[in-house]
């Protein structure tokens, strides 16, 4: 081999040799490496729209108060202090004064003061910025600074969740760094790529497309976080994120699909953690026909919808596709809500009475095992996203169960973007939908009321309209007394369950995958990452290991 041609081979060996050395490099302070398939977009909270950016933002910016893990959003009982130590209501409860923790400070050393809160409210409410929080804080008239440590919130009117909306929606921003920038220019401000916050973690590095890194703020006013470094390790696709966890280059990944969980058995160094999630899955029935005006020949009839619900053995379906741990959903709400109670009625699995109802409604069984009613066959299509194996398996099981009661079902698989598009354009008959819920039960008002159906937006695509249900929801949302609110919610839930606008399938719990020596703190249903500062990585002591396999194996 000519000398100059051997050079590349020698170089490769050198690289390989130093590879080994790098593997067990000096021990690193406890580090949580989270692999996930999406890069952040803008780290300025009011401009954040994607999941990664909201996670990073949540650990760098604080709210005034934080809801407790029970997510009781009515009144102020269920809340605990964050940026504000304490708060006092005015006599007519039309204003609340928050007392900031004097020790709170921005990562550049400047202390947090009331005018930061005033500025933050103004920015989040401004039309130019278009913050997603805007509509939620519409109930707040204005915010003033009584003194340098006491911002005061003034309200238009009293409402059960006024404290929640005021103190726990806005993440406080450093006015001294941002107020000189006009609102419309905030979008392209460099702050969005290099933010300064007041939270437990300060910004370290952002290599776009590769990693975002935060270091613990040792002087944080609520105590030093246990995990020293948080790294969001970004991959191009969900598959690559799982690959990174399994190869040991990451020690946490937020979302494992059922098939990934099955695969975890082969990796002793990893474990799966189920934690509640505010997410409910159901088969939405479109009550309008294709022309969007006349009722759908099958789903327009409430009795037929009830019959189809009774034809489905929901418990067996959930056990087969997922596991027995996952609860069967009662309705479009989460069992974690304070407004939930176990006495709610449920449509039973009763195929015989389902057949009886269908007969009574004139759906005569045809020779080919499919029912007909004045020329229309009991035949409809279920739309399912091709990327979700769980929903595809569920569609196959439902198809089989409906066949037992004489209903012919086709399954149409489309990719995710088309799945959303078809629902919004009402070009579907039935669809296996997964909906994320707001932490507060009042969210049902935006999702299922007649007003939502008529708004022609993405909500209530099935066009469920029930005046009685609307009335109950309105009074529940307005009731100041939690007990009265709960009884109204009960009647609203009972009504929608009886009307069966959709076949409620399961409340999915999120499954995260992590290395065995990561101990997570409580993972709150709406935001699993809110207590990330209290997690511990390794047996508390600095765990060694960086790069691939060593990271995972270092605990043994």
């Amino acid at each position: 081999m000519r000398p100059h041609r051997a050079l590349p081979a020698i170089a490769l060996l050198l690289l390989a040799a130093c590879g080994g050395h790098d593997r067990n490099a000096a021990t690193h302070p406890s580090t949580l490496v989270m692999s996930l398939p999406a890069d952040a977009d803008n780290l300025l909270p009011p401009l954040t729209t994607n999941e990664t950016a909201s996670q990073v933002g949540a650990l760098m910016f604080e709210k005034l108060v934080e809801p407790g893990d029970a997510l009781n959003t009515v009144g102020d009982a269920g809340f605990r202090p964050s940026l504000a130590d304490s708060w006092t209501w005015s006599a007519d409860s039309l204003s609340i004064a928050f007392h900031l923790d004097p020790k709170a400070h921005w990562h550049d050393g400047v202390p947090v003061r009331a005018n930061d809160v005033v500025y933050s409210f103004r920015v989040n409410a401004s039309k130019d910025v278009g913050s997603p929080v805007g509509p939620l804080i519409a109930i707040v008239d204005s915010v003033t600074a009584r003194d340098s440590l006491t911002p005061v919130f003034w309200f238009h009117a009293r409402s059960p969740e006024q404290f929640y909306n005021a103190g726990s929606q806005i993440r406080i921003l450093p006015a001294h760094l941002l107020q000189s920038i006009p609102d419309s220019a905030l979008k392209t401000a460099p702050f969005g790529r290099q933010p300064v916050g007041s939270g437990p973690y300060r910004f370290a590095r952002w290599v776009s497309g590769s990693s975002i890194e935060l270091d613990a703020d040792t002087t944080f006013h609520r105590g030093r976080p246990k995990v020293d470094r948080l790294i969001w390790s970004i991959t191009p696709s969900p598959d690559a994120a799982i690959l990174r966890l399994f190869s040991g280059e990451a020690n946490f990944t937020e979302y494992l699909r059922p098939q990934d969980v099955a695969q975890l058995a082969r990796h002793p160094e990893l474990k799966a953690v189920h934690h509640p999630a505010l997410q409910v899955f159901y088969m939405l029935l479109n009550e309008r026909a294709a022309n969007g005006r006349s009722p759908h020949p099958i789903f327009g009839d409430r009795e037929v919808r009830r019959a189809l619900t009774m034809a489905v053995d929901r418990r067996r379906a959930v056990n087969t596709v997922l596991d027995s741990l996952t609860p069967v959903a009662a309705g479009p709400f989460s069992s974690a809500f304070w407004s939930y109670d176990s006495t709610l009625p449920r449509l039973p699995y009763a195929p015989d009475s389902a057949r009886a109802i269908l007969d009574r409604r004139g759906w005569v069984m045809g020779p080919d095992g499919v029912r007909h009613k004045n020329g229309v066959a009991l035949h409809f299509t279920i739309l399912a996203p091709s990327t979700s194996t769980v929903r595809q398996q569920m569609a196959v099981l439902l198809q089989d169960m409906f066949k037992q009661v004489g209903a012919k079902v086709d399954i149409e698989r489309v990719d995710f973007a088309a799945f959303n598009g078809r629902q919004q354009a009402h070009q579907f008959e039935a669809a296996l939908v997964g909906m994320g819920l707001d932490p507060t039960p009042s969210g049902i008002q935006q999702e299922w009321t007649t007003q939502a159906a008529r708004a022609n937006g993405p909500s209530n695509a099935g066009k469920y309209e029930s005046a009685q249900f609307d009335a109950y929801v309105d009074s529940a949302v307005r009731a100041m007394d939690p007990a009265k609110a709960k009884s109204y919610y009960h009647q609203a839930y009972a009504t929608i369950i009886e009307d069966a606008p959709a076949i409620w399938l399961y409340e999915s719990s999120l499954v995260s995958g992590m290395s065995t020596h990561v101990q997570p703190a409580t993972m709150r249903a709406d935001m699993w990452f809110v207590h990330l500062a209290d997690w511990t990585v390794g047996d508390g002591a600095a765990t060694s290991g960086s790069g691939s396999v060593a990271l995972a194996a270092s605990a043994h």
């Binding site: 969900p238 598959d239 690559a240 799982i242 690959l243 399994f246 190869s247 098939q259 990934d260 099955a262 695969q263 082969r266 990796h267 087969t320 596709v321 091709s386 990327t387 194996t389 595809q392 398996q393 196959v396 698989r413 489309v414 990719d415 973007a417 088309a418």
Partner: protein, 312 residues
């Protein structure tokens, strides 16, 4: 019973190859085609490649009959990522489906899509090349610049762009898209051949006899163009197979449950560490097919075009 079926298929294929071999060895008829066949048979690698191709197409044709399980049916959640065993020759994938049957059906799909797409690309390429070659002058220059533009865009990026904007692609639209993005090389080749033929006296003579352009094209140009186009087509198929697999791998090609070699590999990607067989076997099938086409294409080029002697 399952092994019996494979045995029958094996016998059929072997007899087919033997017949072909005897044909190649026959010396008597001295036709141009015969000489080419003999020269082709002289290349051992090309003959093996042809035999492999025959086997592949037979397997693809009889896939439903040969497959051990239903490729789409989710057998049982318990059998997820099961290692290769007697019942599941290539193991099972994450959804508990038999990889062997999916590879069979996937190969069947990939082969048919590649063949049809190449057919389209050859037709378009030849037509485009002939018009550009014959028209000459400004039109020829413009047409060639357009081809340069298309060649300047890596084919996979073009496919991704098209895939994004018109997804999900049904199999027919996939064939059309693959066909539409593969004809550039063929058109250049055909144009070069047309230009060289145009100069030769026979075309001038034919024109002198008052033959119209179209007649000239049919009688003189097309037969001569046949050789390079045939060679380019064979080599082209390998490229199209790989591109179809890449598209399915990216999730833009064939929609999910229908198996294509590309999306089987995609299913196996996240579990590479512990379930490597899901990604390995479809890839091997792809490589064997592409390699067979490449070797056959090389053999064909030497056989049909002795002038351009390969310096082997």
């Amino acid at each position: 019973m399952f092994a019996l079926r494979w045995l029958a298929a094996g016998i059929l294929v072997v007899s087919l190859c033997a017949a072909l071999w005897r044909l190649a060895r026959r010396r008597d008829s001295g036709s141009r085609f015969q000489g080419a066949l003999a020269r082709y048979a002289a290349h051992p690698s090309a003959v093996i490649a042809l035999a492999v191709l025959i086997v592949l197409y037979c397997v693809a044709a009889f896939a439903p009959w040969l497959a051990s399980h239903d490729p789409i049916e989710i057998l049982a959640p318990s059998l997820v990522n099961h290692a290769p065993s007697a019942t599941f020759v290539f193991g099972t994938d994450y959804a508990g489906r038999d990889v062997f049957s999916r590879v069979l059906y996937g190969a069947r799909l990939s082969l048919t899509v590649a063949l049809l797409a190449t057919l389209i690309s050859v037709l378009i390429g030849t037509a485009y090349g002939v018009t550009a070659g014959f028209a000459g002058g400004a039109l020829d220059a413009i047409m060639m610049r357009i081809v340069d533009a298309f060649l300047a865009i890596p084919r996979i990026v073009l496919l991704i762009a098209v895939g994004t904007l018109w997804s999900p692609l049904s199999v027919t639209s996939l064939v059309i898209v693959l066909g539409l993005t593969a004809w550039f090389a063929t058109s250049r080749l055909v144009r070069a051949e047309v230009l060289s033929i145009k100069e030769r006296e026979m075309v001038a003579a034919a024109r002198a006899l008052g033959a119209r352009d179209l007649a000239i094209v049919r009688r003189h140009v097309l037969p001569n163009v046949l050789t390079p186009v045939l060679v380019a087509a064979t080599l082209g198929v390998a490229g199209v197979i790989i591109n179809e697999a890449a598209l399915s791998f990216l999730g833009i090609g064939v929609p999910d449950p229908t198996p294509s070699l590309g999306n089987i590999i995609r299913d196996g990607t996240p579990y590479l560490a512990s379930a490597w067989w899901v990604a390995l076997f479809p890839g091997l099938a792809l490589v064997i097919t592409a390699l067979a086409y490449n070797l056959a294409g090389d053999g064909l080029r030497d056989a049909m075009d002795p002038r351009q002697v390969d310096r082997s």
